[in-house]
Symmetry: C2
Subunit: 159 residues, 2 copies
DNA sequence: GCAGATCTACTCGGATAGGTGGTGTCCGAGTGCCTTGGG
DNA sequence: CCCAAGGCACTCGGACACCACCTATCCGAGTAGATCTGC
């Protein structure tokens, strides 16, 4: 059970985009430079967030990515599931109905207890992440961070 | 974020072992037959539970696996972490301290908020699984299951 | 008939190949800005 | 000086290799029980 490394990248990138002034964008190259990440791969992963409706992308000069919605309406769960998919890590294949010990159909009216517990755990995980929005994360950052981030993201690469 | 398929196998196998009379064992081949699973691979995974101290193994004729402890003292979390490892699926690599936007050391006295939230979610997942023991699972099975399981596991393969 | 050594069959345990998905990279399509020419 | 058309540079978007981990399998080490022999 391992989340892609890009999960961390996108959580941080989304937070950074949440710090920008409304309407401003940041290109994949600029974000990659900001965090010292492989630009092409980061760009590929940012597309996942666009497809999920979390970011919106603009092409051309001065283009880039920005949040598609207010930061308060974007949960950490949305970002994580956009990167990794929304499937539960535990997949019940109903092995209780296979082999020499296969249960008869009438004994399987209720879902497998083990699968139910694993699903419950996954739901607890999701609930924790859905309870935090990007706005909550931004609110917890030091007061100096937004200005600093805008200044660095806005700076020209050459200078 | 995906758990190995063998997670389901071992949760069910451990439950089955919990149904046996004290002292009885079930070999990997017998368990594989019981659930129609690839025997060699199942045997390999059962070793993980032995190394974790959840099962104890006996070699030779009439040997096999049994629970190393009472079912009430074995949690689902132990089994899952024995199979998949205990590492958190989200690994914070402190990218906030890299690249053009690297934060100075004095701004990193507190742990990364995103990593903290992800850790909190993982802990919620763990708490759900640590709250259920094999005895709880067994208690939720139909009353006819234990006898039936013992009869099938004890039956000779040829008959 | 009984005790001991031997022998066998069965068990686990670790070392060895293959397939799938994340990781990393590249190039092409599209768009907004800048330049340039004309009115 | 103002406007419009063309060119251009920059952006995203999708298609193509590489590597690690899970999946699957095999064979060897060790042991408990059954067997056979000697007393």
């Amino acid at each position: 059970m391992k989340l892609p490394v890009s999960t961390e990248w996108l959580l941080h990138c989304a937070t950074t985009l949440a710090l920008l002034d409304a309407g401003d964008t940041a290109s994949a190259a600029r974000l990659a430079q900001y965090y010292d990440l492989p630009a092409p791969y980061l760009a590929k992963q940012l597309q996942s967030l666009v497809r999920a409706g979390i970011l919106s992308a603009t092409t051309g000069p001065q283009g880039g990515f920005r949040l598609a919605r207010p930061a308060g309406e974007i949960t950490l769960l949305e970002i994580v599931e956009a990167v990794d998919g929304a499937r539960s890590p535990y997949e019940c294949r109903e092995i209780r109905r296979q082999g020499a010990g296969a249960l008869p159909a009438e004994s399987c009216t209720e879902p497998c207890l083990l699968a139910a517990k694993m699903a419950e755990a996954h739901e607890a995980w999701r609930q924790t992440l859905v309870a935090s929005s990007l706005a909550d994360i931004v609110a917890g950052l030091p007061a100096s961070t937004p200005d600093r981030t805008r200044r660095i993201i806005g700076a020209t690469p050459g200078g």
